[in-house]
Subunit: 318 residues, 6 copies
């Protein structure tokens, strides 16, 4: 403790200051990893302000995330076999649907190597191909924290925009709506999200949430997903713009970071098979607060992986 510590502003920046592992775009090697940290710098699915393509870069650059989670009592970069495996090698920065195929191929490699993907968006449309890779054999449940349900149908000629990944995933049979809870919902597009309730998802609006009600909400979320394989998707716009201005479709009236952290930490022990943090757009983040919050969420997601029965090496599932 009294020697030299590496300064937070030193060195090649990586996600969570995890070791970098450079991948061959054709033959990536995810072997030996419990958790693969993966950047997905793609924002062609946005409906309003673009910029989330710089999200992975923003989260790599933010300093002082981790190492120790004193609430969950774990040290994810030490306890897990984890690496910053770089970004999905997209074939094109101009082709939304091809990018989704690239994500699905890449995550399939991760899954086949026995690792759990922890992805950094990019816009929220990336969750659809991730779920296609994860839910191929059996639909997964999901805890989805967001200002938006992201279950709207096609418009402007496509259904692959960032407003619809979870409708797509249900229709593809890779997401189980009965085991899905959406938390933090608000804004003026409720009429677009009837698929959520029609398909059986549990929807918790922002106006129902209070700090005092968090323990009940956590219980409810745990009840919805149960012990089965579960995905966790965190859209940074679930936070109020006061806490996370750097995002493309901000909605006032959202969560505080203290509430979000409490919520995430309440999910310890779920059988998480993957997770993502999406929609960080640093162009709108004059204070770096959003990157800071996004980095901390990524850290909490990695911390939860230390307790996921889905990860063999943690010993939890044995």
């Amino acid at each position: 403790k009294d020697g030299t510590r590496v300064a937070p502003f030193a060195g090649h920046p990586t996600l969570l200051s995890a070791p970098a592992r450079v991948m061959d775009p054709e033959v990536p090697d995810f072997s030996g990893l419990d958790v693969a940290l993966i950047g997905m710098p793609m924002d062609m699915g946005v409906s309003n302000r673009p910029g989330a393509r710089f999200g992975p870069r923003a989260l790599r650059a933010i300093e002082r995330i981790g190492p120790y989670n004193h609430v969950l009592d774990c040290l994810p970069v030490g306890d897990l076999r984890i690496a910053d495996t770089g970004d999905v090698p997209f074939r094109s920065r101009f082709a939304l649907e091809d990018s989704h195929a690239d994500v699905e191929r890449w995550i399939t490699h991760v899954v086949e190597a026995g690792a759990v993907p922890l992805s950094v968006g990019g816009d929220h449309s990336i969750s659809h191909p991730i779920l296609r890779a994860l839910g191929r054999d059996r639909p997964v449940g999901m805890i989805h924290i967001d200002a938006h349900c992201d279950t709207s149908g096609p418009f402007d000629g496509t259904r692959f925009h960032h407003g619809g990944p979870f409708r797509n995933a249900v229709l593809d049979g890779v997401l189980d709506p009965a085991r899905t809870i959406q938390i933090g919902i608000r804004g003026s597009s409720e009429y677009l999200w009837e698929f959520s309730t029609a398909s059986g998802m549990t929807v918790v609006h922002a106006e129902e949430i209070t700090e005092a009600g968090l323990p009940g909400l956590i219980r409810r979320a745990r009840d919805v997903v149960g012990a089965g394989p579960t995905y966790l998707s965190f859209d940074i716009d679930s936070l109020d713009p006061a806490f996370a201005p750097g995002t493309g479709t901000p909605e006032v009236g959202g969560l505080s970071t203290r509430e979000a952290l409490a919520l995430l930490r309440g999910l310890k022990g779920l059988s998480l098979v993957g997770a993502d943090i999406v929609e960080v757009a640093p162009q709108y983040d004059a204070t770096t607060n959003t990157a800071q919050a996004g980095g901390q969420v990524l850290f909490e997601l990695a911390s939860l992986m230390c307790f996921s029965p889905a990860i063999a090496s943690t010993g939890v599932g044995r």
Copy 2:
């Protein structure tokens, strides 16, 4: 739903994306409108940081406000006959008192046409001439959400500054202090606002407000104003600067947007005869959060108009 939607960043910007109606400055035509959206780009009444003259422009520019209010279940720009009628044509950008006369003349036109004014400041001094036009025949009640009472007397040679509109309105007999509640009060100028309590207004300080106490506060507000004609004035500095930094006299320790939205939505059914959102100063709004919050407040105000018995076409009052 699966065709083309107009992108939020496209087209001539208007308040709430309502249709624009261009007015003749001499003979404005507000006929056929339930609600007239009106900009008041005037900030000569400020006591500290100027800039709210750019407030209407900031609220026109902000994207993705509305269309649907899922809490109140209304679609204000569809349900109401509403238009962005442009800005009050001020005779001078150098004459505070003349500008007040211009506001009063303009709002009188609105009232005479049977429309309800929904104004976007500008500094808070504009509420005084608005109230003069609205309360001409009978004093109105008011729900006033602000960090400041704005009932101080003259200083620096005038009583028409933004610190005194409601003292002026009471003294002019257009505002009923017994039917007035001021919510969110804080800061270091309490000694200037004795008029509030002396005249019989109800004053609720920020330090009395908690998220858990909001239902009680809403009941109290509804009790104070009752069923009579009521004005609603929302100073963006009622929000904590974390949520709304872009304003001229910020005061830490204020409301969150989630609290403010809950408060506003709790006022459904009041007999609103007008409303305003004031003091948005985009020069201090590095993240556009303040414009976003101000736009959302404007949307909530318009939503409340859908349920105001004072608006004939809503059918509520019949």
Copy 3:
């Protein structure tokens, strides 16, 4: 002069404070206009930082552009029949190539109505479909001011990105490379632009430009395009980032605004059949300098139209 002037921060914002004309997306009416100001909020062609979709909004919002050009001695919004005709109605915010078709259709309407299009991007890829509409009958010449030649070939699976519009236009036979000059070229992608020289364009690099050499450069530009129909395309990244930081692919070592204005003003009397100002991305424009520069360039372009023989009503061409 001693009455009231409309304040620059008042009213519905339009390009150059020109009158707004609202268009039917299906049957637009450009009749009676000399010059149609048109927004093109589309940035799917960018190779790096997105955001130019907010360019038209940024140029509408900027205050104090015009009315009088004392160097060219004209008052474009008074001298010309000109209107802010709104934005191209794009069918989709997710489809680059469809957007180009939308632009081409829209500009064809403009041309058929006898008006000259003055477009505000959006990314530079929009110039290709504009040129397709303008050069349909006969290839046009071009003065192109930019840090980049924008004549590179396909990559990432498309040739419709913002790095290639002028190669595309030449290959489509709508742009005459022998009558094309590119000014301000720099950066690290020279190897991608061999098409420029191979096709016979005149390329003037930034490092060849000095303030003292501007008169010669103006003569050279006039010689290249001659008296034939000419397009003028101004990429804001031709300016040094010190003058225009708000753009997606900044390149240090560029023009000052004083140089750019001198260059543009030196083009008086050319037979301009259209022009654009592109690549303003306000997310990166902390000072609004870029919008200010872009707005001024738009004003200079409109001013040049007062002297273009291609515009009948100017009387110049008669």
Copy 4:
């Protein structure tokens, strides 16, 4: 009240708009003061983002702090003999440990003159030499509001960094750990702060704090420090970065300003012998929110001094 008031943006800026008193660096004269406001523009102790050396300048510049505290009912700059006595005259901007000696010497002058020091950092390492001067005769108790315990040991070759002042103070016998409470603790360095609990300090983590729980927390804090001489140290990073982005080691999940004000105001009547507000770094404060919050905290600290039995002239202690 109806004459001229000095505008908040006028005049030579001072802390709390208190009168300036210029000191001789060799023979400072603090006589006749109850409270000495002192800047400490020193940030050599920071572990991450530097910049707090500009903290005193930021707090002098912020406008509209005070004069009246309506919650505590006092007017500190009027009720107390108080002055902005300028900054500690540091011998070097390159020598951390010498700077600590300079602080200790300076505060010793303050103490010997019978005044109470109210210091504005600068980084948190300054609290150690302040406590050395204040606790020389008898260790003081402390209420410490911070995201970090600041009780870690030496690293990078020194123990005088901003992560360790309170461990140092305990080891020097000037701070009584049994009478110390640390509030707001969070982040990923818990493993570095075992000294806090080992020495007997009371540690309250951020995740234990709720708005509803504040009264209990205040009681607990008052119990810990009791009636003895007490120091109050407020690190601005105790606030959530949404409320105070301008600091060097932000930690999401912190206090709101409303909570912090309530907490501070709950400490009325404690026997405060000194206080500080530290770690305001305006380079990261795009909205000036942090300076605003820091200025308000300084005002609350001064207000508490009006009720401290340790200050003779208040009459409270007599």
Copy 5:
């Protein structure tokens, strides 16, 4: 040289780090001063973006201006008897014309004490009352560096706006147009400034200025004003917005700071009887560049005073 230097970020901030002299608003004492530095935090005369009321505060806060001018070879704060005498005590922040009277009264005190006023705006309208005080006995000449002539007539009901001080001064007989040169003129309001040429002022437009042409321009300026008493007025918007974005009516195409410094330094030995630097509005100055440039201009102005025959103690005039 090898002892301690006061750090640029330390201490009570003053203009040019000159000693502060606190004035009695009723009976100010300017005796014994060669040069009085005076803040004029008043921006009621602006026609567009307000904010210059924070100009004096911005110039006090900027660090590292002076002490030595190696081009002019002088040390103004050492060579001159100079002090930061605080701000003009305005009677009202709401009354433009009264504020002008306040300025005139204040500067008359300065003049009567035998000192030369060096003023920091505030908007440019302050130059009119300054000239009224300075030119009372005999009209002065002027070197005026600005993007705008500021000789337009009344509009919006007043002639005391910041667009007209020099027309006012000529009509009041305190400014000699034949001995006046205006440098850097541009923008779109030329038609408002015919008074300049009609009255005989020399107008030099920005488009006539080149770096190579500066020596000739300096000669021309010296010729226009000659050896008589001369005022120097520097509007920060003379600089291009790239160099000074923080101002209310920016105009692209302006001077670089290198050009402005060369121009000012070329005026050594003129008989300056006063000078000002105006229109710094820090709200628009995200980089502090404008305050930096404004502070440096103030330093150059003070340096020129070391060589003005109008200042007795310099020995130049003897």
Copy 6:
């Protein structure tokens, strides 16, 4: 050319997008490299605004630097054996002089491996230990581009601050003042730099520089250093703050980027044995312009290495 290109915002960020080489802090391996890119995140030597410790991180993050230099006609990352070797492993973030020892040790490793160091600061004090490593056997010449001479003596108790590296280097016998030219000098500290002229350095002030005079200046610089081993040190504050606001001691009146690039490119063929780019402080860089300029300068420095006879593998020196 028509396949996929790696997007500029993708992947682990490195200096110049060069391959990363991870070093053992104890036994670094620089073998096989022509040029070692090295970060030096240390800013303890600054005299004013800190922050340059984030310089290496800022230059790694900036996108779109390189690959091809069309003026010098080279592709440095392809033509040279070059890698981003990470940062100097500093033993302490609190010890200025120890950090210098760490730099010297590290650069000695580089030199002994036969590589040329290309360093990214950090503050300018790092150049002193670099020169100690490079000039051990024989003093080197230097082209130094800066606003400041950085030859002042000790103050505040040390001579190792960023204002004195080149005085230190001369006194240590590792820098030959007769072969040293300093370009861009300005500001108010000339009286501190008499060592420059006294020791025989050539000093070129900013006010002597014009765009037209650059060819002569380049010749002069080449004459001063001749064919001997030469170091090139580029302080980003040599640029005018309009071009590079993100630095700690900005000085208005500096170089444009176009001038700086011309100057650097004029140095082709010099026998460069090392170079640095220092003083980028991203906290003050609201537009990222400074990082952009710094990245481009780094690219030009690498390009010059392609032509340095001191680098064996270039073939130039053989």
